[in-house]
Symmetry: C2
Subunit: 242 residues, 2 copies
Amino acid sequence: MTYCVGLCLDRGVVFMSDTRTNAGLDNISTFRKMHRWQIPGERAMVLLTAGNLATTQSVVSLLEERTKAHDERDPTILSVPSMFQAARLVATTLRDVIETHSSTGQRADSFKATMIFGGQIKGGPPRLFLIYPEGNFIEASTETPFFQIGETKYGRPILLRAYDPAMSFADAMKLLLVSFDSTIKANLSVGMPLDVCFYDSNSLKLDPVRRIEADDPYFLTISDGWGDALKSAFDSLPNPQI
Amino acid sequence: MTYCVGLCLDRGVVFMSDTRTNAGLDNISTFRKMHRWQIPGERAMVLLTAGNLATTQSVVSLLEERTKAHDERDPTILSVPSMFQAARLVATTLRDVIETHSSTGQRADSFKATMIFGGQIKGGPPRLFLIYPEGNFIEASTETPFFQIGETKYGRPILLRAYDPAMSFADAMKLLLVSFDSTIKANLSVGMPLDVCFYDSNSLKLDPVRRIEADDPYFLTISDGWGDALKSAFDSLPNPQI
């Protein structure tokens, strides 16, 4: 499995992904699931991937290759004029890769992948999309301001309860760490280290990805502290009459 | 879907179940998923069911009918000498019902059901079992002191963090309400009202089921209070350096 979240805030977009991939319980590896493209001052884009690793790596490689073949006539992710066009490019590439693999007659389900894609291109606002394996996608809105992919359930209640569009990047990172920690504690197929990336609205550039290792002191503070904080929260509620 | 939990405590066993059943999003009903048998002073047993409603109702009816056909030679849930034997009886009944329906050649998956079964029979300790559709089962232990069936993921993190075998029945009810509330908020197929039942170790009798309606004042206190308590817990954690 995998766990990735893209979160829209008033001040920008935050992305977090785990790095565990597995083909069975006895075959686990660490792979980056956060991919980025930018032309500072013009565009900045982040892609989070969940699902079949061969599919997602193939999609990323195809998108990468196109950006380097300058003479090719196809649009590339570095040349399309809007985030909507960029999302469409990622989505069609994803659908094509899945179709290519599925058409060999193998079981099609196993080639599937889902992606979160967000960022900003000059002239437009920051946008965040959830891209389905069928090649269609939806966009985040004020009513649904974040997307999760992979093992989404364990970490969802805290996102629903504590998310606030006005929160700072620091608060958002704390929120995501709590959500990821709950997921990691419950599902072996989601694992450390984590990658996190903040996109400041209208900055049109990406800061380096911050990698959070399992022994990161702040992560450990959150992981331990959240258990105690939850217990205090729980104790603060009144007891029922039985 | 469904959400049911059986929780072993030092002082007994607590059972909670929701009541929503659905065949598609446009066909929802309310059904009891908590079933009980007792001979006060000799045995007290509770069964929670998740999965195909026709299967679970059939299992419960078969178990019921046997207890009433006194002359029948088969063992009944009111005559077996131990909780292990009782669990085996429930499990074989479950497997037989699924097999009967599956052998018609219909899609077998849809007939499946999973159950939590617990209680006490005089001469033995209180025990709690998780029964699989295949007719086998596992027993709770000090390392795994509770079982969940149905939509288990949203409500699991709080159980993992706040469960304590020494907790009172009141605390256990509060814990389960928080876990159920998180699940109900995230999954339409789990719904109010809830049924809760406490079994006091060595009492060998069951108190009436307590039904918690959607407008139950204590449930509303927990549901509203938990959001605020979570936010305070979240705020109490230190912020990261970004």
